[in-house]
């Protein structure tokens, strides 16, 4: 019951946050100096065409009326028209979002799995050479901007070693598998096209790893510190004293509770991962939502910019709710509805 109540509260708060975010981004996108319509149509377009489009986009109405039109549209799934692709923004979202999700999810999995693994090993064998190398790796991962990783990988694996593809999602000679989810690798797998699957995975590696490294370092660091703290606690010593098998102590008694802080920041790390996707997609020419977003921003495409921010807002809220659920599952104090003690 308490879990349901918790979830309900989270959902209500999320709706409020989205509403606030919509006001924020709407205000930001409409205070811009200059005329977006003029920019979109070009300086040689006749005045009547500009006036028509302005009228059509309600740009002559007061701000609150514009917001009302925009919001009522957005609730129905109509995010307006992109001034540059000249399509409904929602169609652009549908086309570009899966590519970014494919990238972000693979990077997220790499980040979580390897981050936790490295952290756990480092914490278990703290102050050995393993631990020290993991810590040095963490520092490098944290301070290196993902676009620098991307460029370094591009140079090293793409040009010097020439072992991995660096552009796009599939090699040009491989036919794109039928669209099921929009994620090329998954579609290839679902349609049983293993050649395309292999190729898609090879294309994914460099961008996904450059995106994952920063968060991975963060996760490794946090997992390490909780594991090495918990390792010194009495309950571990007593479990060992009772003769509980080492493996059980490590995984059930040590790892599970130690993951709570790691998972709690997983949501944040995933957020910065999607933020960085804006740069990494640009470098690897990945035809995704973030690259679309950057182009929209550089071209002052208002509807597209607002849509990009809102869609990402929705994604984060979902991710954070998932993270909360996982934390609640890991932490019986929350699951059982008890007050969370210090």
């Amino acid at each position: 019951m308490s879990m349901l109540k918790f979830l309900g509260k989270r959902l209500a708060l999320s709706l409020f946050v989205l509403f606030g975010l919509s006001i924020l981004i709407f205000t930001i996108s409409r205070i811009l100096p200059g005329d977006p319509v003029r920019m979109a149509l070009g300086s040689r377009a006749p005045q009547w065409a500009v006036d028509n489009l302005r009228e059509q986009m309600h740009l002559n109405d007061p701000l609150y009326a514009q917001y009302y039109y925009w919001l009522t549209g957005a609730v129905r799934g109509d995010l307006g028209q992109s001034l540059f692709t000249r399509r409904a923004v929602i169609e652009d979202v549908r086309e570009f979002l899966p590519a970014t999700m494919e990238l972000a999810l693979s990077a997220g999995v790499i980040m979580a799995v390897f981050g936790i693994l490295l952290g756990a090993v480092s914490g278990r064998y703290s102050n050995t050479w393993i631990d020290n190398s993991v810590r040095i790796f963490s520092y490098i991962g944290i301070v290196t901007p993902s676009f620098v990783f991307a460029i370094l990988f591009l140079l090293l694996f793409g040009y010097v070693l020439n072992v991995l593809p660096t552009m796009g999602r599939l090699s040009p000679w491989i036919a794109r598998p039928p669209v099921i989810t929009g994620m090329v690798s998954l579609d290839a797998l679902l349609s049983g096209n293993f050649a395309a699957f292999g190729d898609a995975i090879r294309h994914l590696i460099l961008p996904a790893v450059s995106l994952a490294l920063g968060g991975m370092a963060q996760e490794a660091r946090i997992t390490r510190s909780t594991i090495s703290d918990n390792l010194r606690k009495d309950y571990i010593a007593s479990a060992k004293g009772f003769g509980v098998p080492e493996r059980l102590v490590m995984f059930k008694y040590l790892l599970k509770p130690s993951l709570i802080p790691t998972v709690s920041i997983l949501g944040l790390d995933f957020a910065s991962l999607i933020g960085n996707a804006f740069l990494v997609e640009l470098i690897f020419n990945w035809p995704g939502f973030s690259r679309y977003g950057i182009h929209a921003m550089l071209n002052k495409d208002l509807n597209a910019v607002s849509a990009v921010v809102m869609v990402l807002g929705v994604i984060f809220i979902i991710v954070n709710i998932l993270v909360d659920l996982i934390v609640a599952w890991l932490d019986p104090r929350i699951r059982l509805g008890a007050e969370r003690g210090k």
Partner: protein, 294 residues
Amino acid sequence: MNYSRNTLLKRRAEGFKKGWYKFSRNPVSVLGLFFVLTVSFLAIFAPYVSPYPTHASRFVNFAEAGQPPSLKHLFGTDVFGRDILSRVFFGFRYSLMMGVVVLSLVVIPGVVLGLVAGYYRGTWIDTVIMRTTDIFLAVPPLILALAICSVLTPSVFNAMMAVSLMWWPWYTRLVYGLSSSLRTEFFVQAAEVTGASRSHILFREILPNCVSSIFTKMSLDMGWVILIGSALSFVGLGAQPPIPDLGTMVADGAKYLPDQWWITIFPAFAIMITVLGFNLIGDGFRDLFALEEV
């Protein structure tokens, strides 16, 4: 009054000395301090220490364009024949300026809002402030900063404003957590029953207990803000050429990869060293103050 003030100052000085001793015993923190001091020195004295100070702005010498690192140009030259080393030194200026300006703009409002919201926990003040921060924190700062920059004319100044607008909620959230737990402490209650004013309680009782956390966060944030600033320049929404911003330099050089790798790689390393320095110091503070929440 005078006497107690003196002893207070003396005690503070002793505490500072002790803190410095502990900080300086940690080789990693000292390394961080060394990086930060070196970068700051190079940034401040860039016109004097860089071998070709005129190369920092509009300067063209195609005779020396695209040269690999050599004794004459330690980091090589870019496509306009400008010395990369000199441009990196000047680039430090923009990175540090980004961090300093953004933090000096956001820390005070962020901290005050957090103090107030935490002290009035559970009232409408808390709700208004903290739900507003939730909205700002719903999307990663880089994306909102990009969105804001996109509607403004790209420039160093506008990039700073955009990042500042996105950054204050982190301080509000940090201080909120601290101040909402501190307000139930005995010393705060004691101040309340003796009739101390609200501003006294907030700024003289609660705030001093948050300072170490705020300080640590600031040192770590210097690194993050510099990273975000370089990312904005990288996509072309921050500093504009010919300003020698490190992010812009990385982006410009990326066009000439892999042949002229030095144009990209050295500015990229310069960003990493700067961020690393601030991070190591921040970690040193965190260990020193035994903080968990930052």
